[in-house]
């Protein structure tokens, strides 16, 4: 039964180089270049070698960006991961101080993150009527609370825990050529996570759930299973973040990871992911992360107050969210004028 009217429907996508360059990701690349030019012009120390040397401590939270991207595309949110970083790092430090070999310490750090993410996933998928903001606000308080109990009981006093044996961590902080190991890890994890979201059936399901959860369910997608997996991935990446954070701090304290969740959400939104779900991709967030890292290094070298960076990130975030509405308003005005 071919179409009775013989009407043809085109199956050729309209995409050209032009639309790629004009996209938001293109704009972000330009901003990244501009930030680097700014860095070079304001600081004589802003060289490739120095940037890579200083990068690891800023790079750690970038790992979580990818997991958070999945959660936001699902239309959910997870604000517990900053506290989870603190908990993972703290338990890893205490395990190491209790005599665990380095490999075991690493595994414990990742495992605590994974379990924390799975806990979020279980609550969010078993009690679907709860808003995930509230679920993860609850677990945020729990995670940080457990960490504080641990500081009290086994820490070095004053809400801190320092790692006694740092040989293993020093190994992770090494560089291969000019590039720190953390940089390679971010690139690899980022490439895998971006590809999964953009190219696989799993990624397509995430978009389907974020766009219309009911229709996705009716189309045979195991909505709650996918959500659970995404929360678990984000938890695991919080563990990775905690590990790389330790390579710069060699310990943890009550403020470790504070605000990370919001910065990571900000990077995602800056990169073009809508918090309402179903829209955006991780490439933009990836570039946005490097924009912020480079900006931090450049301003840090000039000893510009580190709090100022927050003001700048906040401003960039608001502008990036405004861009679509500004451009559509301009387009509407143009249309009106020509009509």
């Amino acid at each position: 039964m071919a179409g009775k009217s013989g009407r043809e429907i085109s199956a050729v996508p309209e995409n050209g180089l032009k639309s790629k360059i004009l996209s938001w990701e293109g704009a972000l690349v330009l901003i990244l270049i501009a930030v680097n030019i700014l860095g070079v012009s304001i600081s004589p120390n802003y060289t490739a070698n120095n940037v890579f040397r200083e990068m690891p401590r800023y790079l750690a939270e970038t790992f979580m960006l990818f997991g958070m991207g999945y959660i936001l595309v699902l239309g959910d949110i997870d604000i517990s991961v900053g506290a989870l970083v603190c908990l993972s790092g703290t338990i890893a430090v205490l395990a190491s101080n209790a005599g665990a070999p380095f490999i075991l310490t690493v595994l414990i750090c990742l495992l605590v993150g994974l379990l924390g993410g799975m806990l979020n996933g279980i609550i969010a998928t078993k009690f679907t009527e709860l808003p995930t903001m509230i679920v993860t606000l609850g677990t945020q308080i729990i995670f940080r609370g457990i960490a504080e109990v641990l500081f009290e009981t086994w820490g070095n006093g004053g809400g801190t825990a320092s790692m006694a044996d740092t040989k293993g961590l020093m190994l992770l902080a090494k560089r291969i050529g000019p590039f720190p190991i953390a940089f390679f890890c971010v690139i690899i994890v980022g490439a895998v996570m971006i590809t999964i979201l953009a190219k696989t059936t799993f990624g397509r399901k995430i978009y389907a759930i974020g766009s219309n959860k009911t229709a996705a369910y009716y189309a045979g997608i195991e909505v709650e299973r996918i959500r659970f997996i995404c929360y678990s991935i984000l938890g695991l990446l919080a563990g990775v973040c905690a590990l790389f954070l330790l390579t710069a701090t060699f310990g943890s304290n009550t403020t470790t990871g504070q605000g990370f969740e919001m910065e990571v959400i900000a990077m995602c939104v800056f990169g073009g992911i809508a918090t309402t779900g179903g829209k955006g991709n991780l490439i933009g967030g990836f570039i946005a992360a490097f924009i912020i890292v480079c900006l931090r290094i450049a301003l840090g070298q000039r000893n510009i107050n580190t709090q100022l960076i927050l003001v700048i990130i906040g401003l960039m975030l608001i502008v990036s969210v405004l861009v679509p509405s500004i451009s559509s308003a301009l387009a509407a005005r143009k249309k009106k004028r020509s009509a």
Partner: protein
């Protein structure tokens, strides 16, 4: 003017993008009468009501209120002119009190303070006049649908409405509740108010209305005295065409049984529902709103969990726990609400079509987009979708074409054996309806088992080999194509007694 007309509309035309929802229709309402407005779904009744209440502005036509021409810019104008509407599902504020709902928008205010005591007293007086069994301070969300409708009527009275429009008020009510509503309507009429009553139920019309106006396919067909028109003539006015033209149902000798449901039960929704389909057969599942049809099918397809019941496909029992299980077995559901359940409106047509089969087409874990484009293009052309490209969003299509995309999505699932269509023609125009029927006919010819859920009797009668009628969560009868007619369906849809248990509103 010889007659005492309170409201008159002449030559009203309303155009929505792609659809003429009203084509030069007329309407006259006398003071103190109950006037029924009837017609099939999609005939334009609701749009017409929205023109009267100022929600829509008509492109053409004039409206006279007590002889003076009026132009409503919005619902507020209509309200101030004394027109109020009560809908099937009350559009109230469920978390607020009865008083707050009644006086929403015209609260008693003195010195900038809301006068709760006087409002509550007034609300109590209104409720007393309606013989209501709840208090002004009750929360509206905790009331039954019938009670919520009373709140809406009280709200209409509080604005001293002269014209009250009731849009399918009895559809979600039990027989007892309907009777109470009839009494209220008669009381309002005796007080000199004029009432427009929309309903699909003939009994409502015979019980209440003195005159009836019929719309069909967005056009005015005529106005009749209820006592002077026979039921058959009225149906002909509503349906208008020879039913056989509209429904291309061929005589196919059904093959062996392909699908059987036994003893489906979900407490509070439906009880002991059994039916079967043969290859090449179209069966209908009908009944009033709230009879439990959609709920039954959702349990069959694994969307909700039944308390009991067995499902057999080609003689083998299936264990269906989630939607995926039903789909893998070849039982494909076209859900009732295509915009919420059937499609992802922001996605391109192609992606929608291949969503359930993306893993089949994929190369290991990776989407094979070229293959997806090809498959979706073929399926969308097969059902003759009016679209330019497979990349345009589903939201850009009309309702009928959106439904075709849902059909294309089902057809793309090559393992399909049984197709279940829940209200497949709801809200789509006559042309697209006919195309959907043709697709159904073709699928039957190819030997699929087809289940159609529908409230529209003409399509049930026109397309189905056998018709299962549901009433209050139970199958109340099965009619063959030879013995079926509207009266028999209605008889089975309506409960004999007057009490209700089991059935819940959908």
């Amino acid at each position: 003017m010889a007659e005492d007309l309170i409201l008159e509309l002449n030559g009203i035309t309303k155009i929505f993008p792609g659809v003429k929802a009203l084509n030069s229709v007329h309407f006259q309402l006398r003071r103190g009468e109950v006037h029924a407005l009837m017609g099939e779904n999609g005939a334009g009744k609701s749009t017409f009501i929205k023109v009267i209440t100022g929600v829509h502005a008509a492109e053409e036509g004039k409206m006279f209120l007590e002889g003076r021409e009026v132009h409503f810019k919005g619902p507020k104008d209509a309200q101030e002119a004394g027109i109020a509407a009560v809908y099937q599902h009350p559009t109230s504020y469920p978390t607020l009190s009865v008083t707050e709902n009644i006086f929403m928008g015209h609260e008693d205010i003195k010195n900038g303070m809301i006068q709760w005591r006087s409002m509550n007293t007034k609300a109590q007086a209104l409720l007393d006049s309606l013989d209501a069994d709840f208090k002004p301070t009750d929360e509206v969300g905790a009331l039954t649908i019938a009670q919520q409708q009373m709140v809406e009527i009280a709200k209409a009275l509080s604005t001293n409405a002269k014209i009250i429009i009731l849009d399918e008020p009895t559809a979600a009510l039990t027989t007892n509740e309907s009777e109470k509503l009839y009494e209220i309507v008669e009381k309002l009429r005796d007080e000199g108010r004029s009432i427009i009553f929309i309903s699909h139920r003939f009994e409502d019309m015979y019980r209440l209305a003195s005159r009836v106006t019929v719309f069909r396919d967005s056009q005015y067909i005529g106005t009749y005295d209820v006592n002077e028109i026979s039921n058959a003539d009225l149906i002909k006015a509503m349906v208008g065409r020879e039913i056989t033209d509209m429904y291309p149902k061929e005589d196919i000798t059904p093959g062996e049984e392909i699908f059987r449901v036994e003893g489906m039960t979900r407490t509070g929704y439906f009880k002991d529902v059994s039916f079967d389909v043969k290859a090449g057969e179209i069966i209908g599942l009908t009944g009033l709103v709230g009879a439990g049809r959609t709920e039954t099918i959702e349990s069959v397809c694994g969307i909700t969990k039944p308390d009991a019941g067995r499902v057999f496909l080609e003689g083998r029992e299936l264990s269906i726990k989630k939607p995926e299980d039903a789909m893998k077995a070849g039982i494909i559901l076209l859900p009732e609400d295509r915009q919420k359940q059937g499609l992802i409106l922001s996605w391109g047509l192609g992606r929608n079509v291949t969503l359930p089969i993306q893993e089949e087409l994929a190369n290991k874990w990776f989407n094979d987009e070229k293959k997806e484009w090809q498959v979706s293009k073929e399926r969308l052309e097969e059902v003759d979708t009016k679209a330019v490209t497979i990349f345009q969003p589903a939201s850009s299509l009309s309702g009928g074409n959106q439904q075709k995309v849902v059909v294309a999505k089902a057809l793309a699932q090559s393992n399909m054996k049984v197709v279940i269509m829940d209200e497949p023609t709801k809200g789509i125009d006559v042309g697209a309806k006919k195309e959907i029927y043709e697709i159904m006919g073709d699928l039957a010819k190819k030997g699929y088992g087809i289940i159609m859920i529908s409230s529209e009797m003409p399509e049930i009668i026109g397309m189905c080999d056998r018709i299962f009628v549901m009433c209050n969560g139970k199958i109340s009868g099965c009619l063959s194509r030879e013995e079926v007619n509207q009266e028999r369906i209605l008889e089975l849809s309506m409960e004999k007694g007057s009490t209700t248990e089991g059935g819940a509103a959908s």
